[in-house]
């Protein structure tokens, strides 16, 4: 339980770092770790006297700044008013494309996932899309997705949005939009860069020495275990409870 809590705290801390500098982040429903990362950033910015951070959590009453129905998140992104968003994927490939539809031939997929949701749109419009997928395995990180729900780069059209980083249980990657590929930034404690290589089905750039992903410092842990968990509990009571029970 304690190990699970530490794993989550590391991810939450990385998310907060990836969001640094943004004014408005939107978080999908059922995304407690991204939401906690955003709340950690908000708490930090407040303590450091930095500009306030706005967090929209889809489906939440508390973190809902919208009054124009389901379209407003999408409009807001199109207007450049959403700085960061999170996407996952049943498959993610080395070009940053994501697949939320299924494996095998379309339409009679071998494995069918829910569908593309708003990904095909938001990937174009949100400057800092963070790919967040905890499972780090070759079945998720494939050379080429079977179905492109949302394309990472499209030189044929002007766009402000696209992938910014990929965060998994094992590692953190940056995305290079000009090259259209990932570069390993750091490996989480407990894993080696060769673990990452063996569990990743696509090729990526790797520095000669791969740093370890930093652990949250004491001040961060205090914020995280106190204020952030209290705030998170409003929207994700079950998740916050598990985190507190593990303490």
């Amino acid at each position: 339980m304690a190990a699970e809590r530490e794993r989550r705290e590391l991810l939450i801390n990385v998310v907060a770092g990836l969001l640094d500098g943004i004014r408005h982040v939107a978080v999908g429903a059922s995304s407690p770790i991204p939401a906690a990362g955003a709340m950690l950033l908000r708490a930090r910015s407040e303590l450091e006297g930095k500009p306030p951070v706005r967090i929209s959590i889809l489906g939440s009453q508390e973190h809902n700044f919208f009054t124009n129905g389901a379209i407003e998140l999408f409009d807001c992104a199109a207007q450049g008013r959403v700085d960061a968003f999170f996407l996952g994927g049943g498959q993610i490939d080395g070009a940053g494309n994501i697949n939320l539809v299924g494996t095998g031939a379309y339409p009679k997929s071998d494995v069918r996932w829910p569908g593309s949701f708003g990904s095909a749109y938001l990937y174009h419009l949100v400057p800092r899309v963070i790919l967040f997928r905890e499972e780090h395995s070759p079945r998720v990180f494939v050379p080429k997705v079977d179905f492109v729900s949302a394309a990472a780069t499209t030189p044929e059209v002007k766009r402000r949005g696209g992938p910014y980083a990929l965060l998994t249980n094992m590692a953190l990657f940056d995305f290079d939009r000009s090259r259209g590929g990932f570069a390993l930034r750091s490996v989480h404690p407990g894993y080696s860069s060769s673990d990452v290589r063996s569990q990743t089905g696509f090729d990526y750039v790797e520095p000669p020495v791969v740093p370890a992903t930093p652990l949250p410092d004491a001040q961060t842990l205090e914020l995280l275990r106190g204020r952030v968990m209290r705030e998170l509990a409003e929207t994700y009571p079950a998740f916050a409870r598990t985190m507190l029970q593990a303490a």
Binding site: A29, S30, Q61, N64, F66, T67, N68, G69, A70, I71, F74, A78, N97, L100, V101, G102, Y106, P107, K108, S109, D110, R112, W113, P114, G115, S116, F117, G118, S119, A120, Y121, L122, Y123, H124, L125, F147, V148, S149, A150, A151, T153, T154, E156, V157, K158, R159, G161
Partner: protein, 270 residues
């Protein structure tokens, strides 16, 4: 003008082959049960912009001929088992979409135009599987490639809301996509927790959260009509029930057993 009818009468007025638009918040599970009881079939379901247990029930009951959606998922309870099985079996026409494209198609119908432009999407394989979507050069304004999608005009829009007044005005709060469905649809059927005597259009504040009766054809009272899904300001979702569904619906037999229980449960409430 708006008719106030029984749940059965409301469901009986959806004909086979008609397209039915349903939302993700304000889902009429009561009408879903009534549609299944009435033997609904060959329906073209339009999810605005995604669906979950409602779509999965209709699929499992064999009521769906075609589905247009951005996703079908039971949320925390996982994938939608009957949807996933039916897709693998090729049991219906599948029109995969992305949330803002469905909303844009409805808006085109609301505006009386044949199509609507939409940002993003370029590069997605959705353009391969949706030949009705096109990429064009913007004919005016800033030059560039733009995706356009055709109008979506549902035969019937169906949702559940807390209140209607006697004139047929519906309180929808901030859930303006419910109004969007009604504007676009040929007819709109609404189930509500209750009918109130006061005029919902009376004050500026209350009117702001109202779908006017002008767009509402039929209203039926259905207490706890969204159950086991949540209804804002009224009740939370019954997550245990949805999880029970997710688990039982993994097999065809389990689904049948769940459905039979669900229908008799809904009959008891009504």
């Amino acid at each position: 003008m708006t008719e106030i009818v029984s749940l059965e009468a409301l469901a009986a007025d959806v004909a086979p082959g008609q397209s039915l638009a349903v939302p993700v918040v304000g889902v009429s599970m009561a009408a879903t049960a009534a549609l299944i009881e009435a033997g609904a079939r060959d329906m073209r379901l339009i999810c605005v912009p995604v669906s979950g247990m409602q779509a999965d029930l209709l699929i499992g009951a064999g009521a769906i001929g075609e589905i247009e959606t951005s996703a079908i998922s039971l949320g925390e309870a996982g994938g939608a088992p009957r949807f996933n099985a039916a897709v693998r079996a090729g049991a219906f026409g599948l029109r995969d979409s992305t949330c803002p494209a469905i909303l844009a198609g409805l808006l085109a119908a609301q505006r009386g135009v044949p199509f609507m432009p939409i940002a993003g999407i370029v590069g997605s394989d959705l353009l391969q599987v949706r030949p009705d979507w096109k990429v064009i050069d913007s004919p005016t304004g800033e030059p560039g490639k733009v995706v356009v999608v055709p109008a979506i005009t549902p035969d019937v829009a169906l949702f559940h809301a807390p209140e209607a007044d006697r004139a047929g005005n519906i309180r929808i709060g901030r859930h303006r996509e419910l109004a969007g469905m009604a504007y676009a649809a040929r007819r709109t059927f609404v189930t509500v927790e209750r009918i109130v005597d006061r005029n919902l259009m009376e004050t500026e504040d209350s009117a702001a959260g109202v779908l006017p009766s002008l767009y509402v054809d039929k209203v039926a009272v259905a207490p706890r009509g969204a159950w086991p899904l949540p209804l804002w300001d009224e009740y939370p979702g019954d997550d245990a029930e949805v999880a029970r569904y997710a688990s039982m619906a993994r097999s065809e037999e389990g689904f049948r057993a769940y459905l039979s229980g669900f229908l008799s449960q809904r009959r008891k409430v009504a």
